[in-house]
């Protein structure tokens, strides 16, 4: 960090994101115009607002560009293996139910190699906030097709344009049982911040998809300009609709984008379901797991 603090009117001030970062690791590795850092700003603001004890908040990432988020946030952070952030987080959460556990990873990590874990964590209603930064591509490996790449988008492994049908992630999460489902873009910083705050305070599997530019690979290969051009596209073509059926949230190449909070419901979490089941079957001999007496 800069040796000299920022001073205004004789008062020292600081970038509000800084207390949440491992400042000795900056600058980060993300490319100019990449939106991942923007989502981190929103997440830091959400951490400020949600009122959680940050010593009891852990972040788990998989592999890839977004997978590096864990390394920059000054929380207990785990940079795990490719696709396995969710099962690691599951172990962490179940191992210590007092923790708030956030999974923060990319579209390739969470929905291709980690797709099976994603659907099962949502099905179980594992108490995790899962943030998926969706830039439609594998950035760290050089711009290959992912399960969210829109039809027609060029990728190194789809040189003639992608012909595979992509996932509609909010629909997938909804169908699998997620209790909170939202989609925003990095243009929607305020709404995203609010969604992250809501997600942090939500009990159960909460899922937030964030569309974010990959200027170096996705935008360049598809002649979409810089990162900021892509954010301008998000601005122009996004429509907020909280009431839409999640099955209608498919994304087309550079088409209209529906954003909003689509699902917000209550459902028994995995841990509550386990405790309730064991209590009803085993009775008094069962001491509910992960319930701190008096403290929670």
């Amino acid at each position: 960090m800069s040796a000299n603090p920022d001073v205004v009117m004789g008062v020292e001030v600081e970038n509000p994101v800084m207390p949440y970062l491992r400042q000795d690791r900056l600058p980060h590795i993300w490319c100019p115009g990449c939106g991942i850092g923007t989502t981190v700003n929103c997440f830091a603001r959400a951490l400020t607002e949600c009122g959680l004890d940050l010593d009891q908040t852990a972040i788990v990432s998989g592999i890839g560009c977004t997978g590096r988020v864990a390394g920059y946030l000054d929380l207990d952070s785990f940079h795990t293996t490719h696709g396995r952030a969710i099962p690691f987080a599951t172990g962490l959460k179940v191992g210590n139910p007092d923790l708030k556990v956030v999974v923060y990873s990319g579209d390739g990590d969470l929905t291709a190699i980690g797709g099976n874990h994603f659907v099962h964590a949502a099905r179980r209603n594992m108490d995790l906030l899962c943030i998926c930064v969706n830039n439609f591509t594998y950035g760290m490996t050089g711009g290959q097709c992912t399960p969210t790449s829109p039809v027609g988008a060029k990728q190194t492994t789809m040189p003639y344009g992608n012909f595979e049908h992509p996932f509609n992630l909010p629909h997938l999460a909804d169908a699998c049982g997620a209790v909170y489902v939202a989609r925003w873009t990095v243009y929607h910083v305020k709404q995203l911040t609010r969604a992250m705050k809501e997600g942090l305070n939500k009990k159960g599997f909460a899922f937030i998809e964030v569309l974010s530019p990959c200027p170096t690979l996705y935008s360049r290969r598809n002649r979409l300009g810089d990162g900021v051009d892509q954010v301008k596209y998000y601005k122009e073509r996004s429509k907020i609709n909280n009431d839409v059926d999640t099955k209608d949230l498919s994304l087309e190449f550079q088409g209209d984008i529906t954003v909003g909070k689509f699902v917000d419901r209550e459902r028994e979490t995995w841990l509550d379901a386990m405790n309730n089941r064991f209590t009803s079957v085993i009775g008094d001999k069962y001491e509910p797991y992960g319930v701190t007496n008096g403290e929670k």
């Binding site: 920022d6 001073v7 600058p27 923007t38 981190v40």
Partner: protein, 95 residues
Amino acid sequence: MTDNAPKKKEKKAKGTVFVRKEICKGCSYCIDFCPPRCLDFSPDFNAKGYHYPILSPPEGCTGCGLCGLYCPDFAIYGVKFKDVEKLKQDAADAA
């Protein structure tokens, strides 16, 4: 950084920004999404060859801080003078 320090005689500015130009990557998010459109590229390069943002015109800044929320590189943030006054007051009260 001192380039951007508030100048009290410009009364119209309600806030200001601080830029850590050495970690800026010149993406222009802050410039393009600044609500009062009061940021622009500096004609100068930073060490990595990027043009970083400067207030232009400074008196337009409201200190809304949206630049800081957008900046993917944690290189800029805004402060409202009103908030700084309050900080000052709180510090004085505490003392």
